[in-house]
């Protein structure tokens, strides 16, 4: 297989893995966040804020990987 084809393949696989990682990470954080809000509705606001911040950070890492996939696909 020529290099370009391998690069495209790598980019596709990488993007899928990145999505998987982000999904697992954010899913694992959203579950306990829901439970915590259900147990203590007064803390729901704080929990929501922390959840959003953590989700943004996890998504940031996922997007680093995505950026590399794009580099692979373009170059």
């Amino acid at each position: 297989m020529e290099a370009t084809a391998l690069a495209w393949l790598g980019a596709g696989l990488g993007a899928g893995l990145v999505a998987l990682g982000a999904g697992i990470g954010i899913g694992r954080l959203a579950g306990p966040a829901m439970e915590g809000s259900a147990r203590q509705p007064e803390a729901a606001g704080d929990i929501r804020t922390s959840m959003i911040i953590a989700a943004a950070l996890i998504e940031g890492v996922a997007l680093f990987g995505l950026a590399i996939c794009f580099l692979l696909a373009i170059k």
Partner: protein, 415 residues
Amino acid sequence: MELKVIASHRCRLPALALALAPALVSVMMMSISSPVLAAAEGEELDTVEHTADGVYLDFAPFGSIELPRILLVRNDEGMRLDAFANTTAALQSGMYTLVHESEDGHIEHVSDEAVLAQMIAGKVHLHSSIAPAEGEIVVDFSVTRHLVFGILAALITLMIFITLARQYATGRGCESAPRGIFQNMFESAVIFVRDEIAKPNLGDKYPRFLPFLLTAFFFILFSNILGLVPFGGAATSNISVTLVLALFTFVLGQFHASKDHWKHIFWPPGVPFAIKFILIPVEFIGLFTKHAALAIRLFANMMAGSLVILSLIGLIFTFNSIFGGAVAWGVTPVSLLMTLFISFVKLLVAFIQAYVFTMLSALFIGMAVAEHAEHEGEPPALHEPKRDVTPLFAGDGDVVKATTVERHREPVAAA
């Protein structure tokens, strides 16, 4: 001046409504936007081209505007600064050639007038770079799409805050309650940044850094939203812009850093001696990677949003070319629904990324300027001498009694 007004939830609604409207309109316009039209006419739907920076502004059904080129060129005689009204003028002046990649892949410099005219007519010149006929480009100061939208976002922020400042200077909002949607809306936002982002992370030093945090928050917010409106582009989807913003955070933090900060990096306390030498490079590099991550997070989020939308719409055309017309028509509603959903997600992401950037900036600056008096391993005194804690007022019908406190602790058994 202290803003003594309680921000009410009703003030947030106008902001939300104003922000949602562009998203809805943009999805509708997306179906007649330029890359879609181009693809409909048979050309390629170039998602990357459309999200990345370019030398022209695309107002698809109505035409496009080419942006000025300003180039610093060096040749044998020295350096000179060239300014052209647009790329076409630069090429037609004879001083520049078009760097064009032909079909078999090799790069050629096109300077022949007839071929150039043909390429200009076919709009090829907008997608390739230009090179000077003699010499080389030192710095390309050209006005590009992202620069235009960045300046627009900056102008919007300036106008909003200058107007706000003038309103508060006349006493409206300080001595009396703020009036009107505009003042209330932005007061909620400013108070939000001050109380949720600046104060928790910076403590008492927040007034010094609050202007920067507010600037960062609103510039990023407006820049992100400009990327969502039709025919708009996001300056923050350019890595240069986000890198500079992260650089500001870095410089600001390190410039005002306390001695404790440097001590913690170069001589971490509370760590075994041998490990210190491993930890020092890690901490030092970590300083830079933290801020770089700040930049890349914002850039990747904004760029990914645009790419995802254009890819989803491109799905329609892909199905069209592979399976034929009927399947493409069937895919269209699904694709448009997904595009609508992703547009809402992008709107949310616009706000969230602005908030996360500002919060992490505040966190990093706070960590750098924090001074903590550390007692390394010193236990609290076992005996506290007598102190007078007589209260000022007594309870109902009581008389103030003189009160003192003296503490004596038993030593805890050594671990």
